[in-house]
Symmetry: C2
Subunit: 348 residues, 2 copies
């Protein structure tokens, strides 16, 4: 069957009414790539849910298509969000697709080039606020509560509804839920959404079991792990650089209920995992994405998994979103004259 986008494909699980416009950029239906070399090396049955192949390059499109559809349904003519990057790109794209006005508030500085380029290029009004993410979000909340503009940050409950469709797809592809779902944790909406999705699919009889949810924050931005708000979070993984997650409580609940946990990984572990994904599997994911693999490697070393365990690592975004980090890690090309001997020397 031709893929119709998440709103149509999973209609019965979503807040879709007869009045909801079934808009789509054909988001979702992303590949669940079986790891070859890493499965053998780590002694696991490992899969990557590569969300970087959504229309704007991240998992955010799943929730955004739902949020924008509901904004249209309610008669809204504009949407607004505060975002470190991926959310803004997604909001801008769906607003463009539907002819809505879109405003994006971002914290000044530290935004990955590709992500910023996206929101601007899709035609959103991007406003850099002299302050951090939380200040930008507070302003968005205030403005959208007082004016006829729909907030599409993860505080918008429709976002989680759309995002949970990734869990459905994992079950559909495997024929069953995995044993473990490893996932990066930033604003914590995604771990919340996946857990909701897995539970709903089981209730509906589409899967028989539930995975353990294992979430990974970056060490310098690990408020949930440390049990306290981080006023000035620091990590190379910009997409999960969040000091006060919007979905803090449901994320902790997802880990607890599922028999999983939320832990942290260092920036070094994240960058090493990002590079390993590329060189061992041929998958280029943004740094935040690699927190899931970094976490799995950490717990392989602790002996958590059995060889028969099926483990799905969620890769939340495309590596092309952050080319600078890739270039910094990968070094420069060799420069040579167009001479056979010179080239052969380094090639063979």
């Amino acid at each position: 069957m031709r893929w119709p986008g998440v709103l149509t494909a999973y209609k019965e699980f979503l807040p879709v009414t007869e009045k909801t416009p079934l808009i789509t950029l054909l988001e979702g239906n992303t590949p669940l790539i079986p790891a070859g070399r890493l499965s053998r090396e780590l002694g696991l049955r490992l899969y990557f849910k590569y969300e970087g192949l959504n229309p704007t390059g991240s998992f955010k499109d799943r929730g955004m298509v739902m949020a924008v559809a509901k904004a249209l349904e309610s008669g809204s003519r504009a949407i607004m969000c505060a975002s470190t990057g991926n959310t803004s790109a997604s909001a801008a794209a769906y607003a463009a697709h539907c002819g809505l006005k879109c405003s994006v508030l971002i914290p000044e500085g530290h935004i990955a080039l590709g992500k910023l380029a996206q929101a601007l290029f899709y035609g959103a009004q991007v406003i850099a606020i002299q302050g951090n993410f939380d200040a930008a979000l507070a302003l968005v909340r205030k403005i959208t509560s007082e004016h006829p503009i729909t907030l599409v940050n993860s505080l918008n409950p429709h976002r989680i509804e759309g995002q949970k469709t990734a869990a459905f797809e994992v079950c559909d592809a495997l024929g069953e839920a995995p044993d473990y779902l490893a996932i990066p944790v930033g604003n914590a909406g995604n771990i919340t959404a996946y857990w909701k999705g897995f539970k709903e699919y089981k209730v509906a009889g589409r899967s028989r079991k539930l995975p353990r949810m294992i979430g990974f924050q970056a060490e310098g931005a690990a408020p949930i792990v440390k049990g306290q708000i981080i006023p000035n979070p620091q990590t190379v993984a910009t997409a999960i650089r969040i000091g006060n997650p919007a979905s803090w409580r449901p994320a902790v609940e997802a880990a607890r209920e599922s028999g999983g946990f939320i832990d942290s990984v260092t920036d070094e572990e994240i960058l090493a995992a990002q590079r390993l994904l590329a060189t061992a599997e041929g998958i280029f994911a943004e740094p935040a994405s690699a927190a899931s693999l970094a976490g799995v490697i950490k717990y392989v070393q602790k002996g958590l998994f059995k060889p028969e365990d099926v483990i799905v690592c969620v890769l939340t975004g495309n590596g092309l979103k952050d080319p600078d980090i890739a270039i910094r890690q990968a070094g420069q090309p060799l420069s040579l004259p167009p001479d056979e001997e010179a080239v052969l020397e380094v090639v063979l």
Copy 2:
């Protein structure tokens, strides 16, 4: 059905034997997005085949998976190519996925940041040759003909075989071939591959008609249109900056046989179409991709199409491959203090 990648999905149309390893990064199965606003504005039934959602962000993955599978089948341990960008990224990714060594020769300078970052990051040996694309290619041909290394440039005939699967998908999604297939033309392998695919699908009874193939080169890199090799091709669309296309003759043949043509569009038209794709449809494609839409707009103005014509524009690569061009066109964000009044002034 779960998508198995192009080698498995279209096995009977490909040079797949019992000994061919069915490797995959789950390439293909890319969205055919119905244009909403642009269809209405242009008075057409317009679709975009968004090849930017392949694993490395371009259509090259279709041909590369075939070429690398055949390299493995033949016992090769290394692959090599000369590439302005997208081919190198794809070769590097599949080599990493399969544990092959990969060498990439690129012309020094003028390479889009994201594309260069990719090949390097996937772990390929990237060598910048002091010379243009043709000099790099000549060197690759010489080396691969003399040493046990497989050439995976478009001269490798398996590349075209894999690439033609995009035509199959277009037919499968529409239930029939379109009336027109608009496509960027650089090295001219892709227009050749699509035409081959459409013909084979018709012969196999999977479609009843054939589209007219309309190809578009960039004005400063239009050897086919001008009927002569361009020694120093110039265009903002790096992916189609080719002065002496490898598939020159079959591309001309495809246009002639199908009742179509190959024409050129200016860099200004390409950049305007790229921006329009983003702001009117929410699709971010690399500049070269937009040559197809630019061409369609040019021929709408000439009155070529009938309102009932189904036109598919091939968007060959992801806009994230070339963030610099996007930023240059889109301008910078506004910088404001975290103050409600200041923000409201520009948002409402």
